[in-house]
């Protein structure tokens, strides 16, 4: 269905699984690592606040947030750009990862809440006397970290298994994933679900014993997020340049032919779908301590579909494209919502239309065309 209109950027030559990145790619990589792990901490923590070179809290939070979004866009690219399956439910996996981390953060508040109780404030408010069973062990960081991976992974696996097995594809799949995230949003909006209802989790105090608002802690979270982004970029690169990646691209371009060649697309799709969901969950877990809140609106269909536009703006089927797209759209958003708040929806809507009509390969396509031109 998509093959006709969408020509992949990746070279279509014979198999090459040798090098992960070119020399230029590696040097770019090292440069990015230096900026994230050396330049940023020094500019934020060491350089005095009145200096022109100082990087403020605002920028650390914003860039940290955007890196989380970039990880999500990357996960979306694996499933959409490379495998041709448009998910409109990735916000759900992001939010589930965030909620899993949020449970740990809620429990590390201890008795410092408004009601000075062992239970989170919203449970005191509901007059609950003990934690529900699914909250057990969440006071251990490693268990919460396990949940971050397991919950989105398991949900994606089960959902994907049923969906792919009965060959739900194309827009059908998109619509159903949207319904899934919509239903989950309704579920999490209920107070009785036990995740704080409308307000979700907020007012976190500390993470692993460190105060969560201290500049050093924030910087550490920032660095971990940066490391995760770089790590996932390499991981994604490894997947798409492997044989597995070739099969995925083939599924995108002509699924029937893949089947006729003796491959069963179900398990390839299931694998990349689950991996993508887990990456999203991890991004969500990194996002929550940095922005300090998680609530069900993260699961709204609008959020999930916005993820798709980051990937589309950046350029599907390339790995740096989605990162670029997530950064460009979100920087634009934070500027726009401050400068002309009432026009942001117009801008976003136009972006959706113009990119699909005139920029099917996104910014990455523009850059590639430029490189070829001279």
């Amino acid at each position: 269905m998509m093959g006709a209109a969408f020509v992949p950027l990746a070279p279509a030559g014979g198999p090459r699984f040798v090098r992960l990145l070119s020399a230029g790619g590696w040097s770019f990589y090292v440069a990015a690592a230096v900026v994230l792990f050396v330049a940023f901490p020094i500019l934020h923590l060491v350089v005095p606040a009145d200096s022109a070179l100082h990087v403020s809290d605002y920028w650390v939070t914003l860039i940290g947030k955007i890196m989380c979004y970039a990880i999500v866009a990357l996960a979306m690219d694996l499933i959409w750009g490379y495998t041709g399956i448009l998910s409109l439910g990735h916000g759900l996996f992001f939010a589930l990862g965030g909620y899993a981390m949020g449970m740990y953060l809620m429990r590390s508040i201890g008795r410092d809440g408004v009601y000075q109780s062992n239970l989170p404030d919203f449970m005191v408010f509901l007059d609950w006397k003990a934690y529900p069973w699914y909250w057990s062990f969440t006071d251990h960081f490693w268990y919460a970290a396990l949940l971050v991976v397991l919950v989105p992974g398991l949900l994606a696996f089960v959902f994907g298994f049923f969906a792919f097995r009965s060959r739900i594809k194309g827009v059908y799949f998109s619509i159903i994933t949207q319904a899934l995230t919509y239903a989950s949003m309704l579920l999490f909006f209920r107070n009785n679900t036990g995740f704080g209802g409308n307000n979700g989790f907020t007012d976190f105090k500390r993470i692993l014993g460190f105060p969560i608002t201290a500049p050093e802690t924030r910087m550490a979270l920032f660095a971990v997020t940066g490391a995760a982004l770089l790590g996932f970029l390499l991981f994604a690169r490894w997947i798409v340049t492997s044989k597995l990646g070739r099969v995925l691209t083939a599924i995108r371009d002509a699924e029937s032919r893949v089947m006729f060649s003796g491959y069963d697309p179900v398990y390839f799709k299931l694998f990349i779908w689950t991996v993508s969901a887990v990456i999203c969950g991890i991004a969500g877990a990194l996002y929550v301590p940095q922005v300090g809140i998680i609530n069900p609106s993260e699961m709204s269909p609008a959020n999930s579909i916005e993820i798709a536009i980051w990937t589309a703006v950046g350029g599907r089927g390339t790995l740096y494209g989605p990162v670029l797209g997530a950064a460009a759209v979100n920087l634009g958003k934070s500027w726009f919502t401050k400068a002309f708040p009432e026009y942001w929806l117009f801008a976003l809507g136009l972006l959706f239309i113009l990119v699909t009509l005139f920029l099917p390969r996104g910014l990455a396509g523009l850059l590639a065309a430029r490189r070829k031109a001279p």
Partner: protein, 539 residues
């Protein structure tokens, strides 16, 4: 008017007031009056009950005066009914003027106040005004005592209104149930079995309740009788509840149908995923709002007719927006469904923001015309509102019109031809591009009609469409692509199932259950309820 005349008039008025006061309150029993004025709460309540049992209209005036604070005490003995500048001594019936100086307000606590209100309600049961009688019957539901049984029986015999009769019968039964005589209680329970009022159930359940170790009703025979009556009442109530639920299910289904019919054309027949469909619904609702405002400003006399004029307006507004979209954006994306999905989502954002800019972010008020208010009472306690009935009829009409259009007109023929085989239709001279635009306009126009219907029963705001988009896609997915019949069955089925689950598990869980059900259903029948037969390979 001269000063002298005014003075004479005033004297005349005072005299009339005196005459009236004197006539209204005859002398009452002195002990009773003393209790009323100076007794403790219990004594006061006894006095009030005694007053009430006399049943003369004058007592009603007195009781009302007690409530309003117009009964005062003077000194150690006198109890006065004060009206303006004069007062009547209740014990002697003599008029006092001027008022004694040592007056005190008569203290009435909440218990006494409640007692008085109940006593007054008994009098009000004989009022000519239905609303007054209804309010009185409701008042009596709590707090009626055995001494009022006679009065209630009398009122029951005279009453003609069914609702008030029901209330009174229930009150009588609840009074009798509290009686110490076993036979009275059993009779009351037997009478209750005939009722189909939801309140009866609560009443009977209360008897069977356990308080600590003992039952609320100590006698085992009476309890057995109560259980028998309870079962009879329950079976009657279940029928009523079923009717109500099926009705609200069909009502929800008809709304889903309206929302999904347009989608069935654009998605089912043309393969276009239109995420802006919900916003086209919203445009229709706002068109209705605009027509309503025009009528209000320019033809307030014909306000009730705005609803008819809004039908073509809503259809045209949405159809025009839809055709513009098709011409400007969607046309270039045929055959690329995922891109269409994203682009139309962008359109939906722009439409939402446009409406917000023009009409504001708040919900706007769309009023029902007067002939739409009220409803039919199918069974006691189950009222089917006219607005919902009309919308069900409207959905049926739209469905019929669409069916006729698709099967009986040239445009319908073309639409079906293009759907089945675009290339072949084009070869045979069907102007496929124009048919696309027309079909898209038709689908969008029906979305506008859905918005028109929704404006009559729900809030109209910029986010109106968002809440229906997921549901209407579910209907189309469940019904199968390109199938009108499938869409109808899916909409009705989803509506009814949803309402039944709602009663059982709450609205949110019901919605989730339905979504999970659809996901599993598609496992079994990926092409929906009514798959096209044949060997069509995947596109």
């Amino acid at each position: 008017m001269s000063v002298g005349l005014a003075r004479w008039l005033r004297v005349g008025l005072v005299a009339a007031a005196l005459l009236f006061a004197g006539r209204a309150i005859a002398a009452l029993d002195a002990a009773l009056v003393h209790d009323l004025g100076f007794g403790e709460s219990d004594a006061k309540i006894r006095a009030i009950a005694a007053l009430a049992s006399s049943g003369t209209p004058e007592t009603a005036t007195l009781l009302q005066a007690l409530l309003d604070g117009n009964v005062q005490t003077a000194g150690e003995e006198q109890v006065l009914l004060v009206s303006g500048e004069t007062a009547t001594d209740l014990a002697t019936g003599k008029t006092l003027s001027p008022l004694p100086a040592d007056r005190d307000d008569l203290v009435i606590n909440n218990r006494v106040r409640k007692e008085i209100e109940t006593a007054i309600a008994i009098f009000k049961l004989t009022s000519k005004d239905r609303a007054v009688r209804l309010a009185a019957a409701k008042q009596l539901q709590t707090g009626a005592g055995e001494e009022m049984l006679l009065a209630i029986d009398r009122a029951l015999a005279q009453e003609s209104d069914a609702e008030i009769k029901d209330l009174l019968a229930l009150t009588r039964a609840s009074v009798q149930l509290a009686s110490s005589d076993k036979a009275t209680r059993v009779t009351a329970i037997r009478t209750l079995a005939e009722s189909n009022n939801p309140g009866t159930k609560t009443l009977l359940l209360g008897l069977l309740e356990k308080k600590g170790d003992a039952y609320a009703e100590p006698d085992a025979d009476v309890r057995a009788e109560a259980e028998r009556s309870l079962r009879a009442v329950e079976s009657k109530l279940t029928t009523g509840e079923m009717i109500g639920r099926v009705f609200s299910g069909v009502s929800l289904g008809s709304i889903l149908l309206l929302a999904a019919l347009g989608l069935a054309i654009t998605y089912g027949l043309m393969g276009v995923i239109n995420m802006a469909h919900g916003e086209l619904i919203m445009v229709g609702a706002y068109a209705t709002y605009v027509v309503q405002n025009l009528f209000r400003s320019y033809a307030p006399g014909a306000f009730d007719a705005y609803l008819l004029c809004a039908v073509p307006a809503a259809f045209a507004a949405s159809a025009l927006v839809g055709m513009a979209l098709e011409r400007s954006v969607i046309r270039f994306l045929y055959g690329r469904p995922l891109e269409t999905l994203l682009a139309t989502w962008g359109i939906s954002l722009i439409l939402i923001q446009t409406v917000r800019t023009i009409f504001g972010a708040q919900n706007v008020q769309v009023e029902n015309p007067s002939w739409m208010s009220g409803g039919i009472e199918a069974v006691t306690g189950v009222v089917l509102p006219w607005s919902r009935i009309i919308i069900i009829g409207f959905a049926a009409l739209v469905l019929l019109a669409m069916w006729l259009l698709l099967t009986r007109t040239r445009l319908g023929l073309f639409v079906r031809a293009v759907t089945q085989n675009r290339a072949m239709a084009s070869c045979n001279g069907v102007p496929t591009r124009r048919v696309d635009t027309m079909a898209f306009g038709l689908g969008s126009g029906i979305a506008g009609l859905a918005g028109y219907a929704l404006s009559q029963i729900g809030n109209v705001g910029p986010d109106l469409g968002q809440s229906y988009i997921v549901d209407s896609f579910m209907v189309v997915v469940l019904g199968g692509v390109g199938q009108l019949a499938g869409t109808v069955y899916a909409a009705m089925g989803l509506g009814i199932v949803n309402k039944f689950l709602e009663a059982w598990s709450g609205a949110v869980l019901a919605k989730i259950a339905v979504l999970v059900f659809i996901i599993f259903f598609i496992q079994k029948r990926p092409q929906g309820l009514f798959a096209l037969k044949g060997r069509t390979a995947e596109a």
